[in-house]
């Protein structure tokens, strides 16, 4: 190793006198530094730095279909439906029912991130402007998230994250597609 030393203190004048050699008080710190950096390297490699965060997901109870029958069906004009497709693509129906004749023509395609956010914001603005808040003070805008078999877990988390970013409080995670939706989406949602 790079041991760096100093030859013993003063050096002494050559005047013939024998003197006790003065030893340097310096301590050679090289091995200590070596050890310290070795340990640093070890701990740096052995640690996982960023502590994971978590998002809470609450899903409705599966077994209370009696109560569900009481609620009135959502109006398609207040709903933005997002279909999570394969290859990180999102298909969406903005305020139109999937059994509508125009649905196929109006089916939009977008990507995650900024593009999807813009879609949600636009739809949110339009629907909330056209419809008053309900009696409980909730905004009219509802997002229905429909992950397809082709989508990944990341896609789902991304969309849920988008809900948090756009502050869309009312969203529903629905994992089965209706027949008309299947028809509208066609072969876009087939598992790869």
């Amino acid at each position: 190793m790079a041991a760096i030393e100093e030859s013993g203190g003063g050096g002494g004048k050559e005047d013939g006198k024998v003197r006790a050699k003065k030893h340097s008080t310096r301590v050679d710190m090289t091995p200590m530094v070596d050890l310290a950096f070795l340990l640093i390297t070890f701990f740096m490699l052995a640690t996982t730095m960023s502590k994971p965060t978590s998002m809470t997901l609450a899903v409705p109870d599966k077994n209370d279909d009696k109560e569900q029958a009481q609620t009135e069906p959502l109006k398609a004009s207040k709903v933005l439906t997002l279909f999570l497709g394969g290859d990180d693509e999102v298909y969406y129906l903005d305020g139109i029912a999937s059994d509508d004749d125009d649905a196929k023509a109006k089916l939009g395609t977008t990507r995650y991130g900024y593009d999807l956010r813009t879609v949600i914001f636009n739809s949110q603005k339009r629907i909330n402007a056209a419809n008053p808040k309900d009696e409980k003070g909730n905004e009219a805008f509802v997002v229905v998230i429909k992950p397809t078999v082709a989508s990944t877990y990341k896609n789902l988390v991304d969309v849920l994250d988008e809900m948090a970013i756009t502050k869309s409080k009312r969203y529903a995670l629905v994992d089965n597609l209706t027949d008309s939706e299947k028809e509208v989406l066609g072969d876009k949602i087939e598992a790869p």
Binding site: V33, I40, A46, T47, S54, V149, Y153, K154, L156, D175
Partner: protein, 209 residues
């Protein structure tokens, strides 16, 4: 002779400062160290959520990129109690040695009928063997549900966290979900990495008075 020669000095660097920095960093890394576990490599997606994953009293259901499901509980006594519970309901017995070995596993992905064989392997083999994952299906009554039930029986205060890989397919997640929902577990945490919120985003606390 009387000649004046330039004194020869070995070059000397003062290493005190370097040592200081070195040990400062060392202290920092020792303090913040949480060790990587030997479980499957899972790359979680990121979210803007700021909620930290709780450190204790948590069970983690992991889904890796191939769609295999792993299960783990944090506390060792709970792991043993959980194994006892599942052994009781399924009519299997585990020896004390197997229990101690099981208690050391942060997570595992074996069907119950293969678990015993795995626990009887040597430590190196246990780490090297490829885990097939815990069976899940959409009926909601697969083995994962049994494990979750056993874990909750062992410690009713356990919180449930789902940790999925970026590439895990949605159907697997759906199956896991149906296993939880069949036991009336409707609220859980999705473990994600953290990412910065987009510009212009204000958190709920900031906007609501």
């Amino acid at each position: 002779m009387g000649k004046v020669r330039p004194k020869k000095h070995a070059p000397y660097t003062d290493m005190t400062a370097m040592t200081d920095v070195g040990f400062l960093l060392l202290t920092f890394f020792i303090m913040t160290a949480t060790f990587k576990t030997n479980e499957a490599e899972i790359n979680t997606p990121t979210s803007i959520s700021q909620i930290k994953v709780p450190d204790d009293k948590i069970m983690v259901i992991s889904i890796d990129n191939a769609g295999k499901v792993f299960f783990g509980v944090d506390a060792q006594p709970v792991r043993v109690a959980m194994l006892d519970n599942i052994a009781q309901t399924k009519g299997v017995t585990f020896t004390d040695l197997e229990k101690t070995k099981f208690a050391l596993q942060t997570s595992f992905g074996f069907p119950l009928n293969q678990l015993k064989a795995w626990l009887n392997m040597s430590k190196d083999q246990m780490g090297a063997v490829k885990q097939p994952g815990i069976p899940v299906d959409s009926t909601g009554t697969s083995e994962l549900a049994d494990w979750v039930y056993a874990a909750r029986k062992a410690d009713p205060g356990l919180r449930i966290a789902l940790k999925g890989d970026n590439l895990a397919k949605f159907p697997v997640f759906k199956d896991v979900l149906s296993n939880l929902q069949s036991q009336n577990i409707n609220k859980f945490n999705l473990i994600t990495g953290s990412e910065a919120a987009p510009a212009g985003y204000a958190s709920e606390e900031a906007t609501e008075e």
